[in-house]
């Protein structure tokens, strides 16, 4: 077969079952694509031996006739997932040399389904960033290009997005705390879904903000996202917040029929200064869903404007607590100590050397908002505002709305380094359309919907009801078909 690296999971599954190709052939094709793509800096730890072993095992399983859909599919894994015996650093210097003695539940589920690990993918340090510029491995680069500039693939799952868009893996895992799956998916013309909080186990995924973090798939098509999300999901006794509810067959729910569904357009998402092409994309998406038989209604989510400041209190607060474990004692980096240095100097030097600037900034903000005298003014107030943001969504869904359509990002991908001198808050604005979904624990998906005037991909976001990923994926599938996005980046790397 020609061009094995262009197949979707669904196509490869059918080809494997018919015996037209093998997982070994697919895996070899991807390993060679990865070797030729150093310029993208997407894969930061390659695992070719593991990949070939898993591919051979997958071929044997497929030959036996009892293979799940994901069997034999070569995947990339975000560096945030602990993978046994393989470097798992969360793109941080402080975890240099760390090789977990255990496997995250999500990756364990993927290997049990027969998937193949090609390696670990670049990301923002501890998933804190929107441009993949805070990584200890250096920037991941977007395969899309319109001039001499190198563009960001977005963040924090930037390596995952770059690798899937550049055909370096069939699909990848991502994680999303404030938009870290959906924003990079939009910047690279791929699909990314953050499921309902609790759908995927967080066990073995390096924690950033535990009440917001969720893993999800990043894929070329909505169908692939449905297949892979099914394999990643499920109850896990090791994560007390993982939901003990059945995982439906998401793929079988892609009927392409959304007649009679109600899609809400939230008026508060029409931000001042929104680029005209984003506004047009949004209107076009709404027209596509209407043509497919959905009813379009304007809705109000009045607390939207407060989502970003609430998020930037809650997420750093949780991060400051989660990241307290990096102290140079149990794993990773320990600073060289001077004569007479005690344990406090060891902690302080280790964390100053090991954490990058953005991580330090967020840990300190989190420490401040949790400190005596400020806890009520910042942290408790933010948690109350969070309750109001969730209530906005509850009310809209109770009024009969099935899904909500919004832009995925306020712009297309920007140039690496262009935000270097900007205020940290300017970077945070990247999450403006995605962060509400994490605060409310809802599923959200980014679907590639068009190109901007320069020729860069733009995405639309659909937000669904809790545990309604099947319905959400079906609506996304309709939008994907209507938008007919088929563009691929031209190979320059």
């Amino acid at each position: 077969m020609s061009d094995l690296t262009r197949l979707t999971i669904a196509e490869a599954r059918d080809a494997l079952r018919k015996g037209e190709t093998t997982s070994v052939a697919l895996t070899e094709a991807y390993l060679s694509a990865i070797d030729g793509a150093g310029a993208l800096n997407a894969f930061v730890h390659k695992t070719p031996e593991i990949a070939m072993d898993q591919a051979r095992a997958a071929d044997a399983r497929i030959a036996s006739g009892e293979a799940p859909a994901l069997c034999g599919m070569p995947l990339g894994i975000k560096d945030l997932f602990c993978t046994r015996g393989v470097a798992s650093q969360a793109a941080s210097k402080i975890l240099e040399g760390f090789r977990p003695e255990y496997e995250s539940t999500v990756t364990r589920n993927l290997w049990d389904a027969g998937a193949v690990m090609l390696g670990k993918l670049n990301m923002d340090e501890f998933a804190m960033g929107s441009s993949n510029e805070t990584s200890t491995y250096g920037n991941a680069v977007n395969p899309w290009k319109v001039d001499d500039r190198q563009l960001t693939p977005g963040g924090s799952s930037g390596g995952s997005a770059s690798a899937v868009a550049a055909d370096l893996c069939m699909a990848a895992t991502g994680t999303d705390t404030g938009g870290s799956i959906r924003q990079p998916a939009a910047f690279t013309g791929i699909v990314g879904i953050k499921p309902t909080y609790g759908r995927c186990s967080r066990w073995g995924i390096v924690a950033f903000a535990s009440s917001l973090d969720q893993a999800g798939p990043m894929t070329r098509t909505v169908r692939d996202a449905a297949i892979m999300l099914g394999a990643m999901s499920g109850h896990d006794p090791k994560d007390s917040t993982s939901a003990d509810i059945p995982v439906p067959d998401f793929e079988s729910m892609l009927t392409g029929d959304i007649r009679g569904k109600t899609v809400g357009i939230p008026k508060e998402y029409r931000m001042d200064g929104m680029p005209a092409e984003i506004e047009k994309l949004w209107a076009d998406g709404s027209a596509m869903l209407k043509d497919a038989g959905a009813e379009i209604v304007e809705i109000s989510l009045p607390h939207t404007k407060y989502a970003l400041p609430a998020y930037y209190v809650i997420a750093p607060a949780e991060a400051s607590s989660n990241l307290a474990r990096y102290d140079g004692v149990r794993y990773g980096h320990r600073a060289k100590l001077g004569q007479g240095d005690g344990i406090v100097q060891m902690y302080e030097k280790t964390r100053a050397e090991g954490f990058g600037k953005e991580v330090q900034r967020r840990v300190m903000i989190g420490t401040y908002v949790l400190s005596a005298g400020f806890y009520d003014a910042y942290y408790n107030r933010a948690r109350k505002v969070r309750a109001l943001i969730k209530r906005d969504f509850d009310e809209v869904f109770a009024a009969g709305v099935d899904a909500i359509l919004t832009p995925a990002t306020p712009s297309a991908a920007f140039g690496l380094g262009e935000m270097a001198d900007a205020d940290p808050v300017a970077m945070y604005l990247n999450d403006v359309f995605t962060v509400t979904v994490n605060l409310a624990g809802l599923p959200g998906i980014s679907v590639p919907a068009g190109l901007d005037q320069q020729g860069l991909p733009l995405g639309l976001q659909l937000i669904g009801q809790p545990w309604g990923e099947g319905d959400l994926l079906n609506t996304a599938h309709v939008l994907e078909r209507a938008a007919g996005f088929v563009s691929k980046p031209e190979k320059w790397w």
């Binding site: 760390f98 909080y197 302080e348 964390r351 100053a352 420490t367 003014a377 948690r383």
Partner: protein, 95 residues
């Protein structure tokens, strides 16, 4: 709320991150900027609203309080920067 240099020094120490004295003014300014952004939350009427603790209304699962694993000292110490005689080693903490 703006953060002065003394507060920045105190927060850095609470966070156990060494910050050079020369870097404190810039840090204080950055943190102040972020806090100013958060001040918007004061516009919201939160009277009678309970702070959210968990986003999904579910009862945490319970399990039997029994030992389910153990006997893996080597694996636990495998990644330690300094492990001696079956323990994590750190600089002396008592005189």
């Amino acid at each position: 709320m703006s953060i002065d240099i003394d507060t920045a020094r105190r927060v850095a120490h609470l966070a156990r991150i060494a910050v050079q004295e020369d870097d404190l003014p810039a840090l204080a300014q950055e943190l102040s900027g972020i806090l100013t952004f958060m001040e918007q939350l004061n516009e919201v009427d939160v009277t009678g609203i309970e702070p959210m603790t968990g986003v999904t209304p579910m009862r945490l699962k319970r399990r039997a309080d029994v030992v389910t694993d153990g006997e893996m000292q080597d694996r636990i110490l495998a990644n330690a920067p300094d492990a001696r005689e079956g323990f994590f080693a750190v600089p002396k903490v008592v005189e």
